[in-house]
Structure formats: structure tokens, C-alpha cells
Amino acid sequence: MGTLGDTLAARMIDVDIREKRFGDSPVLRDVRFSLSAGQTLAVSGPSGVGKSTLLRIVAGLDSAFTGQVRGASSTAMVFQEPVLLPWRTALANIMLATRVSAQTAAAGLDEVGLGGLEDRFPGQLSLGQQRRLALARALAVCPDLLLLDEPFVSLDPDLVEEMLSLTERLLASRNVVTILVTHTESEAQRLATRFARLTGTPAHLVED
């Protein structure tokens, strides 16, 4: 079994989950890895193995586990669905979540190709545009740690390709630690620098 080791000196994010249980059943055990700036870890594994649980723990959404997550001073996440505020404009969605100025938010929209759509409500955007807005929101905070929870799920192949290229380009220009949870081998290959699988019951992490 090869848990991901502390191989790099310039460590930024340390994840050390000794155990996570739901009631009596342990879901994750001895999940340990460290990632440094610029690295992208792709985590794959069968449905229900605990990928989303792992991501929720790293995101700080689930604190009921033994172990610790260290190193991220600002975290951003792109969820499986866009999770936008439908009653606020595209620009306001970025500004409210991230507290950046209107100028920075507009620049972020421009970067993902949504320039000129600042005043649209999410309902007036296509699904692809909503995904790009969610990505712009996550990157607007200039996070140390970016979490992508199957961000391209349920998109048609053209849109997946478009989003992959965009994400690839945006990640390349930033020195951020990224954890990508995905089912799809090709997504992992495109975006990740390190690859791991969650496997077993309770699940542990195996580096490929």
C-alpha cells in the first residue's frame, strides 16, 4: 500500500485523516498526503467509496473526523453543480462569496469568457456559463487550495472539452494546490500532476 508520502520539501497542504466514521461504519482510514503549490492531485475511485467525504473534510465542511488538515489559509471549491445564488447577478455572485472588488470580479468573469455578462442572473446563463462562473468565483479568492468535486459531471462532451481547456489554462497561470475528484481517466490525465485512487472498506489512498 502506497500512501502519498511527504516527498516534497516545499510542502503546502498536509492532509492526515486517521479515521472518519458515519455512525459505526468507518469510511476513511489512514488517508495521508501532502501537496505543494502548483501540484494537482486527481482522486478517483468507485461511487460511494468516500471521495466526496474526503473533499468535504479537506474543505472544512466536515470536522467530525480524527486527524488534521493543515496548511490552507484560503480554500475555494467548485462543486458538482454550480451552486450559485440565483437571486444575485453574476458579478454579485463573485463579489459576495469572495469579497473582491467589482473590478477584480469583472476581470475574473472576463478571464473565463463571461465578459459583458456581469449583470445577468444565473438563470439567464447556460449551464456551461454557470460552470464557468463557478470556476471564476473559486479562482477570484486566489486560493491556496482549490477543490474540484467532479466539476464536469453531466456536461455534454463538447462542454467538457471546453471546460477542461479553460481549467487547464487557468491552473497553469496560478500557483495553487488543487485536488480534483473525478470518475474520468481523461480528465485526470489532462489536469493532474499526481494520481491516486481511494479503495477498500474503509477506504485508503493508493498512489498510482
Binding site: 472544512g60 465542511l61 475555494a76 462543486f79 445564488l85 459576495l96 462569496a97 479568492v141
Partner: protein
């Protein structure tokens, strides 16, 4: 398109409906033939104009509206906070639910009498009594809304470390807006009816006080003049305050 057509048709239909109501009233008054029992619209209208000219109507309207506004704000704020708290915390809900049921079933008259007895025949007692009657119903409606809040938006707000006040204003309250509008609308009509009872029992101004006065004088015309004036004011508030606010708060749905 469909909505616009409906909206365009709504005003003439509403006008026609009001005209039918006035016609039915006139017919009943003519058939009855006794103005001391049921005066006709054209007999009540001069009374309203006389009260407007003397300034009495505005004086009493203002007193009642002030009580309605105070009780409304108090009930919406406290009922809203209580409902949100109970909807978000299962533990709080289990503890407070029996209280809520007790207050929901407490007759308005009992609250009013007890408030007057305990606090005295004061403005504070009057407003407290009305607010206490409305708080539980607001709490029940807002609790339903709080239970239906989108957990994914909660997660998003937490990951991005949104402040409590930003979360409340931009994440939670917009989701509760339909529930707030619904409890506000039913609230304002319930509140003004209770305010009239409160004024009837223990105040020396307001529409309820005037109705009490003319009830003792068996003056049906003046009772109707005051009641209808107030209903007209409430309709104006509904049309020019509540509906525009609701349209503004839900504009993103039509965008």
C-alpha cells in the same frame, strides 16, 4: 407573455369585481329600505367625506396604522428569528414546539385582556398583545422555509467563509422571501383586525375606538364609514407597498 396578458387582464377584472360588490350592497340597501340598519353607499360616502374634512378620520387612521406598523414589525422580526432558529436547529425545535402550539391556540382576546391587566391600559400593552398573537403564526411559516433551505448553498457559504451577516442577507433571506411575503400578507390582515379589538377594549383613539363609539350610538353609517376607510387604506398598502416589494424581491425569477 402569458403572465403579461394575465396581469393586463387583472385590473379591469378587479374593478368589475368591486363594482359588483357595490351594486350588491346598493341593492340590499334599497330592498331593506331602512338607512339606520343598512345605509347605501351614497349615504355612507358623505359621512366619510365629512370625517375627512373634520380631520377626525386621519387622526384615528394614523393611530391605528401606527399600532399596525409597530406590531407588524415586532411580530415579523421576532417570529422570523424564532422560526429561522427552530427550522435550523432540531434541538431548538423539539424544545420550543410545545410553546409554539400553546401560543398558536391562545385566543387573541385572552392575550389582549392579560396584557392590559398585567401591563396596564397603555400603548405598549396594546402593541405587545397584537404582536404576541401574530408571532407564532409567523414562526410556523418561516420555520417551514428554514427547513427547506438549500444545504448546498450553506456549504458554499462556509467554504468561502462568508460572514454571518452576508449569509443572512444574501443566502438565507432570499430563500425565505416567499415565506416572508406569505406570512407578511396574512400577517397584515390579521394584525389590523386584532388592533381594532385592542382599540375597542382599551384605547381612546383609533378606528377600533371610533367603531366602539358609534356601536354604542347604534350608528351603522359611521361604523361602515370608518371600517371601509380603513379597508381602503389597507388595499392601497397592499397594492402600492407589498406587491411592488414582492415583485422587486422575486425579479430574478422572471429575469
Amino acid at each position: 407573455m402569458h403572465t403579461k396578458t394575465e396581469a393586463a387582464g387583472a385590473t379591469p377584472v378587479a374593478a368589475l369585481s368591486v363594482i359588483t360588490m357595490l351594486a350588491a350592497w346598493s341593492l340590499a340597501a334599497v330592498l331593506n329600505g331602512d338607512a339606520s340598519v343598512l345605509p347605501a353607499p351614497w349615504q355612507v360616502a358623505p359621512l366619510v367625506l365629512r370625517e375627512i374634512a373634520s380631520g377626525d378620520l386621519f387622526h384615528h387612521l394614523a393611530a391605528t396604522l401606527r399600532r399596525v406598523a409597530l406590531a407588524f414589525v415586532l411580530a415579523m422580526a421576532m417570529g422570523g428569528a424564532l422560526g429561522l432558529f427552530m427550522g435550523r436547529s432540531g434541538r431548538a425545535d423539539r424544545w420550543l414546539d410545545p410553546w409554539l402550539i400553546a401560543f398558536l391556540n391562545l385566543p387573541a382576546l385572552v392575550t389582549i385582556v392579560l396584557c392590559y391587566l398585567w401591563i396596564g391600559l397603555t400603548e405598549a400593552a396594546a402593541v405587545t398583545a397584537v404582536a404576541l398573537n401574530k408571532i407564532p403564526t409567523v414562526a410556523v411559516t418561516i420555520r417551514e422555509g428554514a427547513r427547506a433551505l438549500d444545504r448546498r448553498l450553506d456549504d458554499m457559504a462556509q467554504v468561502f467563509s462568508m460572514s454571518r451577516i452576508t449569509r443572512l442577507r444574501h443566502v438565507i433571506l432570499p430563500q425565505l422571501a416567499p415565506y416572508i411575503a406569505s406570512s407578511g400578507r396574512s400577517g397584515i390582515s390579521l394584525i389590523w383586525k386584532i388592533v381594532l379589538v385592542v382599540e375597542f377594549l382599551g384605547r381612546s383613539d383609533g378606528i377600533g375606538f371610533q367603531i366602539h363609539l358609534y356601536f354604542q350610538l347604534f350608528d351603522v353609517g359611521m361604523v361602515l364609514a370608518y371600517a371601509l376607510s380603513f379597508i381602503a387604506v389597507m388595499l392601497l398598502i397592499e397594492t402600492f407597498v407589498l406587491r411592488p416589494w414582492e415583485r422587486w424581491a422575486t425579479r430574478w425569477r422572471r429575469a
